[in-house]
């Protein structure tokens, strides 16, 4: 079976093709079988392949795709973990979605996109080189884009999709460049097996930094994380699968996969750790003041991804993957639970209008409680061990990162139990009669809850399992570990206790509340500089590119006058909003030559040709 790993992604692709092309003609009942069925088949095949491989790396090369770059798949301990998460949790979420999306239009499109996503995600993690990984990387971005904007009648959904798309583009530019740096290092091979034996150097550092820039886009880290909370406009199963369990962890996976590069670039690794820690605490504070149940979870995801990068940055790659795995369980469960609540309340997402749902939705409550304990880091639950390991390794390397991590752990416990208390305890604040979700939705919750409890006990096994592929700096200082464990347990219970008493507080952060409520003004900064500055102004200038402003074509005198008067106006308002001006200015400046000439007049076009030739000839004398 291990030779059939190339088939694993193809099964969901087949499902996607059938659903997208023929879906309209298929009855709903068949779609309900096809969509989760393909994922389940992929899961079974993955399970078989992983068991057969027994942790030994196994490559299946189909053919040479590009010179020295294969269309090849790699099943090793790392990708084994990933494909099992993707197909396993992906299957549960598909089953859940058959119930959740029951009343929505475009059923076949939804599952078509969802299957397509799984296909690309499997390509991403099974690829044996960066180029194929990049194909998956762009593919999941595409599927995510289509799914965030699934409710196309909602304008906010379209805007959110666009935002996610734009922020990911920035990261992708970094990824492409990083990829070519790697190509230069490996002499064009780009295969993961050729990463070993590289030597440190400026090119390698550049590769590490640029690839990480790609990861900050995909995995929603500073400075590019603002798209993820908005991505919650997509249907809740999408949030659970793509924006919690799988796609957003692709950056962590990629960094772990490139551990050979990152272990040689200590400066970049340190930066990753710091960025992860900063993102974690920032997002956690924002999560504390959100009232939309899905947004709390979205910021929580950003924060937890920060934890993973903290671990990856200090060289504890297996811990990052371990947390990735536990997070996939508890965060998928939390999202699906939240979806169940929203479903039960007929679309209500505001936690201030919930409350007291414990008795009406017992299964949802108990399963979510398990996940909330897990993410808070209560002993015996999935999140406890993984978070603990992260803090332990952080302590060994950077004490400051550890301190931030510990505080964030307490904040995490607080915001998560604030969510629980607001949703399930206290007085009921809505008149809507809530109902427990149907079995297709609650069954996945139960399975995931079992996973949350269970998977924590396999930390040691996972470390051994991942040992051959990931560089790990093992340090068995048991005494220290227990002290730190006590500290983190203390932090967890403090957070939960505080949530018990202050969950209704509107200012849990004191003076920082306002900052958190405004999401640390990150959106505003982006809006100010890019949307209003470059976007609107730049768009305006670029838009007038060929709007034929200059009617005379080449009216020199008018041009000069216009220029002078404009310059004086600029000078007046220069200081008032300097930042916007600079941004707008540069776009204006960049488009200026084109604006002057793209007038629609043949004479001015010809003039440009002459001018270009004159410039080229001028170059002769300059040289």
């Amino acid at each position: 079976m291990v030779n059939l790993i190339w088939l694993i992604p193809l099964i969901p692709l087949g499902g996607a093709a059938v659903l997208l092309l023929l879906g309209r003609m298929l009855p709903k009942s068949l779609i309900k079988v096809v969509a989760p069925g393909t994922i389940f088949a992929a899961f079974l095949l993955s399970l078989g392949a992983v068991m057969e491989s027994g942790g030994k790396p196994h490559e299946v090369v189909l053919y040479e795709w590009l010179p020295k770059v294969d269309w090849g798949f790699l099943l090793d301990p790392l990708s084994s973990v990933m494909i099992l998460i993707i197909t396993g949790i992906g299957f549960l979420i598909h089953v859940y979605a058959t119930g959740y999306m029951d009343h929505e239009g475009g059923y076949y499109r939804f599952f078509g996109y969802l299957n397509l996503f799984v296909f690309f995600m499997l390509i991403l993690v099974l690829a044996n080189n960066y180029v194929l990984l990049f194909a998956g990387w762009e593919g999941v971005g595409l599927a995510s884009y289509l799914l965030i904007g699934f409710y196309f009648n909602k304008k906010s959904a379209g805007d959110a999709a666009k935002k996610a798309f734009l922020f990911n583009r920035v990261g992708d530019a970094g990824f492409i460049l990083g990829m070519f740096c790697v190509a230069a290092l490996t002499h064009g091979s780009l295969a993961f097996r050729d990463l070993h034996g590289l030597t440190a150097g400026p090119l390698l550092t550049a590769a590490a930094a640029l690839l990480f820039l790609g990861a900050t886009g995909k995995s929603a880290q500073l400075p590019l994380f603002v798209w993820l909370p908005d991505a919650m406009e997509g249907p809740t199963p999408v949030s659970a699968l793509i924006h919690a369990a799988t796609m957003v962890t692709a950056g962590v996976y990629m960094v772990a996969r490139s551990s050979a590069i990152y272990s040689l670039a200590p400066e970049v690794s340190a930066a990753i750790s710091c960025i992860g820690a900063t993102t974690a605490i920032m997002a956690a504070t924002i999560a504390m003041v959100q009232t939309d149940i899905k947004r709390v979870l979205a910021y929580s995801t950003v924060s937890q991804l920060g934890f993973m990068f903290m671990a990856a940055g200090v060289g504890a790659y297996w811990v990052a993957v371990f947390h990735l795995m536990t997070h996939a369980f508890f965060k998928a469960l939390l999202f699906l639970g939240a979806g169940s609540v929203i479903h039960g309340l007929h679309g209500e997402q505001d936690m201030l209008k919930m409350g007291g749902l414990r008795s009406e939705m017992p299964i949802t409550f108990w399963t979510m409680a398990i996940a909330a304990l897990a993410i808070a880091g209560v002993p015996g639950m999935a999140g406890f061990f993984s978070k603990d390991e992260i803090l332990f390794y952080a302590y060994l390397n950077f004490k400051s990162v550890f301190a931030v991590g510990l505080i964030t752990a307490a904040l995490t416990a607080f915001y998560m139990w604030r969510l629980m208390f607001l949703t399930f305890f206290g007085e009921k604040r809505t008149l809507v009669h809530a109902h427990e979700s149907p079995l297709v939705m609650t069954a996945p919750l139960i399975v995931l809850a079992l996973g949350c409890g269970g998977c924590s006990y396999y930390a040691a096994q996972l470390e051994r399992w991942l040992e051959p592929v990931l560089h790990s700096n093992h340090s068995p200082d048991i005494g220290l570990k227990h002290v730190l464990m006590a500290a983190s347990v203390f932090a967890a219970f403090t957070g939960i206790l505080l949530a018990r008493y202050f969950h209704a507080s509107t200012g849990p952060l004191g003076p920082l509340t306002k900052l958190a409520q405004h999401k640390w003004y990150l959106d505003d900064i982006y809006d100010f500089v890019f949307v209003r500055g470059l976007g609107m102004r730049g768009g305006e200038y670029l838009g007038s590119f060929d709007r034929r402003i200059l009617d005379g074509g080449i009216n020199g005198a008018g041009l000069v006058t216009r220029f002078v008067s404009r310059a004086s106006i600029w000078a007046d308002t220069w200081i008032v909003d300097g930042l916007v001006r600079i941004a707008g200015f540069s776009a204006m400046f960049a488009s200026l030559p084109a604006r002057i000439v793209q007038t629609g007049f043949v004479q001015s076009y010809a003039l440009v040709i002459v001018a270009a030739i004159a410039a080229a000839l001028g170059l002769f004398w300059v040289k």
Binding site: W65, V131, A135, D172, A173, L542, F545, A616
Partner: protein, 488 residues
Amino acid sequence: MITYSATDHFILLPALLLGMFGIAVLLLDFLFPKDIKGRGWLVGIAISGLVFAGWQLWEQHRYLAEHGMTPLTGFNGALVLDNFAIFFNGIVLVSAALVMLISYRYLENEHEHHAEYYALVLFATFGAFFIITGVDMVTIFIGLETMAVSFYVLVGFLRGDKRSNEAAMKYLLLGGFSTGLLIYGFSIFYGLTGSTTLIALASVVPARGPHDPLLYLGIVTTLAGLLFKIGAAPFHMWAPDTYEGAPTTVTAFLAVASKTASFALLLRVLAVGLSGARPQWEPLLTGAAVLSLTIGNLAAITQSNVKRMLAYSSIAHAGYLLLGVVAGNDTGLIGVAIYLLTYAFMTIGAFLVLVALRRKGAAVETIDDLAALSRRYPSYALLMLVFLLSLAGIPPTAGFIGKYYIFLALVESGKYGLAILGALYVAVSLYYYFRLVRSMFFVESTEAQVLAPSNGVRLALAITGMATVAMGVLPEPFIRMAAASLGR
């Protein structure tokens, strides 16, 4: 003494067939009454002309393969038959055939269905043959003019449409100007060498040295003329207006055939005639590439007309292609060849979807016209998505392969700055291509598009779609073809 040898005939045969079929289409149209079943059969004749020409190309390729790939020269060194010529002629022929397939219904809808259209497409292909195959400047020039004149008429083929007329006029005036520049450059080369062949030019270049003003003047003016033809900045300004105004089928043909033939010529002039003058032309090409990327990608962002947006995107593509030449190694040149091959299919594919759709009884033009396509015609929306991803260069589509080669070539030759610029603009280009995706998938529309696909459109769509995916997933045979065309 003028002779016409068997070799000459063998080399010329594809062009001969194209020309003869072109004239046949005109004559038959004239001889038969106008109302014979809408005259769809003219398309058949025109396409069979292309098929015969293609068959001859295949024969030529077989001959070369049997004779160790030694190029044949004919007409006293005016034409040369090598793999390079066959490869690029092949691209032009295929694009012409695809355009023929989609033209019939389009022209019917626009009430401008005339036999001249097909004849002109054949004549343009005929001209392209001499551009690609010629190594003599006079031959090349005549080929260029034959192609250009055919295109001037084709662009203005919608006689009742003001924009089509305007586009043709602009293209004619500026095209004439640029041809003047090119012939000026050629005349300087003639003055330097006393011969009109590129090979003679090559032997003179080293002797003139790098600081010869006359040679430099010749290079600058020749490049200006050629950059105009491939639609590279700063000689691109005709493109948006012309692409927008021309009939969509002609736009597709112009974007592919004219660009491919002219780029082949550019390669030939630089590699054969001016390879010794690299220090002189490389900075110029670098400048043109950077400008094309910048102007093409940035201006495309704000366009609301799809054809205009694709025009700017084709300017950006010219920039990438020039980067491949600038890189100056084998990888770069193979990249250029494979880029042009993939570009033909994905570009025609994208225009094809526009041709297939109609709205309010008119052809689809603006981005809003594509609204809700994914819900009405999911397969067309998916195909368009594939073409757009390919144009943006996203793996595993065809467009990725060319870009991959060109970036790799830049990295190999140590031109990191240009590689960074190119990669950044890939990210930018996704943005404007995805404005179409957004419209197709996320925007609801009350006015439905009407799909009017003829069997020709279906066939062409199937070919372009499959080629775009196949070349991306399994590029190896195509890469080999591209490499062989360059004798690698």
